[in-house]
Amino acid sequence: MRWLPFELHTHTPHSDGTHSLLEMCRVAAELGLEGIALTDHNTVSGLADAEAVSRQTGIAIIPGMEWTTFYGHMLTLGAPYCEWRDLGPDDIHKGIARVHEQGGIVGIAHPYSFGSPICTGCHWDYTVSDWNQIDYMEVWHETMPSMKNHNVPAFRQWTELLNQGYRISATAGRDWHRSDPADPLAAYTYIGLPDAPLPHSLTDLIAAIRQGRLCLSMGPLLEVSLNLGADQYGLGSVVPLPVREAHPEAELTVKITGSPRPERPWGAEGGSLIIIDSNLGELAKVPAIEYDGLPIPLTTAGLRWLRVRLFGTINGILTTIACTNAVYFANEQQHEE
């Protein structure tokens, strides 16, 4: 599998951004990104330039949009324009179905931003009656996301939904409106893609995001492999119940690869910890430098999901440096898709 860093929430002058798609993609390349999703507010007109810009900059561009509605902002990826103006606060599933029917996926953008009149529609107020229909949540929003207050409840809600058995992906999104070199760093969303020749198809990208082959990170990539006997499971995959039951003991390896970018020096060093979160709480908390790439023993009884966080110091502040999406465990109470 090949892991590529993407920025999944961006704007241009086609809505209220100030950098053109070309300017943004040039800066994206300088920031070490391999791709972006263009998610202008309520329009797709900026995509007319996407092919030329992609060719010129080498940056992959996922077509998207940010539904910027009265009751919440919803990111769509891989679908053409889908209608939102006729939907009320209890109608979001009708809107989600429109996106899914067109082959796209949906994600709740910055669910806990302040809403109207401070930021119109920015707080998620739609009634979600079936969380299986939500493909992803933007749990890390803006620059330096692990330190932003409004991301704390978003991250918590994602965790609670995982606990309830939902399989929901999590992404980072800078909500990138302007290219200012003085801006603090944004997180990458690494996307795990098949070892196929570049460029990857849109279908592969959308499938990877939907499935949760994702690692949110301020720099280092966390590659996770859960080994139960001879079987290996990666992010977004589901361990079948008989496999879990046959293997009460498992081993998890986390390979930490630092970013080549000098402004993102964080990795296994510097006292960082590997933390394995799960529905049963923290399964392990070990020094990253000692366990980088080495097996961490786990017991599998009662697990519904686990994910890996790299916890350490950024600019003197203890925080999450990187966090993966989940590995899931099937069980009798699971919510089937």
């Binding site: 241009t12 809505s15 209220d16 009265f70 103006r85 401070i118 119109t120 207050n149």
Partner: protein
């Protein structure tokens, strides 16, 4: 010379927040371009005393309770509040773009030439048939807010 197709104005109050106003019109003939002028005022709500309770209420509604008091002390960070009205356009065959941006005075052109069509709108022919311009009233915070919308077309 462009000729007028719609020239309307209206007055909104905070009750109009979260509503859409659609002007639907019929083009008898295809045009070479469509032009839209849109403005609304005021943009900012510059009444500090009247803004404070609105901001405090939003903080109460949206902030994590653990931090609400801290945010409330800093309520002026959110002053001044602003009105936000945005435009979108539908041609007889469907969605033709929108201008989700904050400027309270906007001029747009839609035509087959991508370099002349305004950002946010989809370049292409301007066929005959039923068109719609929608004003999405995301938020009106001022006691009243006036808008003007002028749609003009240029013959082929």
């Amino acid at each position: 010379m462009p000729k007028d197709i719609i020239a309307v104005e209206g007055k909104l109050t905070p009750l109009s927040s979260k509503t859409h106003i659609t002007y639907q019109f019929h083009l008898e003939h295809a045009l070479s371009s469509l032009e839209i002028d849109f403005r609304y005022a005021p943009k900012q709500f510059l009444d500090r005393e009247a803004s404070k309770p609105l901001i405090l209420e939003a903080i109460e509604n949206f902030a994590d309770p653990a931090w609400a008091e801290l945010y409330k002390k800093q309520w002026e960070n959110y002053y001044p509040l602003q009105n936000l009205l945005t435009l979108s356009l539908d041609s007889p065959s469907g969605f033709r773009g929108s201008a989700h941006r904050h400027a309270p005075e906007q001029r747009h052109m839609i035509c087959p030439d991508g370099s002349k069509t305004s950002p946010g709108f989809i370049a292409g022919d301007v066929p005959s048939g039923v068109w719609k311009v929608t004003i999405s009233v995301h938020c009106v915070v001022t006691p009243d807010c006036r808008y003007e919308l002028l749609v003009r077309g240029t013959d082929q």
